[in-house]
């Protein structure tokens, strides 16, 4: 090509070499990193969970319009338990040492610890491979009775899962949000579960799925 032979373009004077090289501000670095992590998390989440929250919201709306009276009765019960669960969760995190009576990542250490302390055997799982690491457990008092509280770590978030016997049949997870906390409650295998954390609602729903 004639352009190359006539003059090596690489030897041309660098007109713009005095121009500014703009470095990324630190705030942008932080912003980009969190956006990238959000994007990675979004991709890792199956489509079911992406739409699950919305579907749950629609289901709640449908329930409301179907039977207001029934929901109000259930709502006040649900509201009371949500408040109790929130209180227990906040208290458990207030001072170091409140969170766990038995601190262990081994479910075979945590589960036997409850023996003789409760009139039921709580479900203790270790879904560490799915991003929820068992931290331990403690006794707590919710809904007018002694309950098992299991703690799981999801990234930097602590999830409290309260369990106690329930006479009713199985029920699908319901997601509530209270003052920034995500609360999911469901019934499975004769146990009522109430899980709470300051992480995203979808994450708590995922744990509910792992424990059922």
């Amino acid at each position: 090509m004639s352009l190359g032979t006539r003059k090596d373009p690489g030897e041309e004077p660098l007109i713009a070499r005095d121009a500014t090289y703009y470095r990324a501000p630190d705030a942008l670095r932080a912003r980009v990193m969190s956006a990238v992590r959000r994007e990675a998390r979004e991709e890792a989440r199956p489509a079911f969970w992406r739409w699950g929250g919305m579907a749950a919201a629609f289901a709640v709306v449908a329930l409301v319009s179907w039977n207001v009276a029934l929901l109000q009765a259930r709502g006040s019960e649900e509201d009371r338990l949500a408040r109790e669960v929130e209180t227990a969760h906040v208290r458990s995190l207030m001072v170091d040492g409140h969170l766990n009576d038995v601190a262990s990542t081994d479910q075979h250490t945590v589960k036997p610890w409850f023996e003789g302390k409760l009139d039921f055997a709580p479900n203790v799982a270790d879904p560490a491979a799915s991003g929820f690491a068992l931290m331990g457990g403690r006794l707590d008092y919710v809904n007018g009775r002694a309950v098992a509280a299991l703690t799981y770590r999801h990234r930097l978030h602590v999830v409290n899962v309260f369990e106690w016997p329930s006479a009713g049949g199985d029920s699908a997870p319901v997601l509530l949000t209270r003052r920034g906390y995500a609360i999911v409650h469901w019934t499975h295998g004769g146990l009522a579960y109430w899980a709470i954390s300051d992480t995203a609602g979808e994450d708590v729903l995922k744990l509910a799925q792992l424990l059922s």
Partner: protein, 180 residues
């Protein structure tokens, strides 16, 4: 290593290059930041398509495309279509006219032009010329890399580069003349 960790190790180190290009193309720091964030999210989405260790040109191609989409949407007047087929030969001629400029006192004068003057003149260049100069002279990319980033033939990169330099040179001279 997780996909995210690999991304943070190979792509994130080129954040400065991404921002510099976006800043020069949008000519505004806030818009550049928005574009860079959008580009990094796209890069994460298409990370599997990155082959080998050519992360910088790969990322800059995404930044460049994000910039152009942004310009087309927000400042359509700045994005003018170029008839490259017609300009290549004309550029080769104009390049002949300006060859030998190195020894010219004008060039020596140009080299003392201050950063502010160069910045202003470069900012006023049409974006298609501005981007090749930024990539070549400020980001120090090869012709081949610029060609693949901008999606144009290497010959077009060279012609835009020489024409862009000529325009820039005139703009700086005009500014200096007005200043003196």
């Amino acid at each position: 290593m997780t996909r995210l960790a690999r991304f943070e190790q190979t792509v994130l180190p080129h954040l400065d290059a991404a921002y510099n290009l976006a800043r020069w193309l949008t000519r505004n720091e806030h818009d550049a930041e928005d574009v860079v964030q959008e580009a990094f999210m796209r890069a994460m989405r298409y990370f599997d398509r990155l082959k080998g260790n050519e992360a910088r040109p790969w990322l800059l191609a995404i930044v460049r495309n994000t910039c152009w989409s942004w310009l087309e949407k927000n400042r359509p007047a700045e994005v003018v279509a170029l008839d490259d087929a017609g300009t290549v030969s004309a550029d080769a001629e104009s390049l002949g006219q300006v060859s030998g400029m190195d020894a010219n006192p004008e060039v020596i004068l140009l080299r003392s032009a201050n950063r502010k003057l160069v910045n202003q003149a470069l900012e006023e260049l049409p974006v298609a010329f501005r981007e090749v100069i930024v990539m070549r002279e400020i980001e120090d990319l090869s012709y081949k890399e610029i060609a693949s980033i901008a999606g144009i033939p290497a010959g077009t990169v060279m012609s835009r580069l020489s024409r862009g330099r000529e325009m820039l040179r005139r703009a700086i001279e005009n500014r200096m003349r007005r200043a003196s």
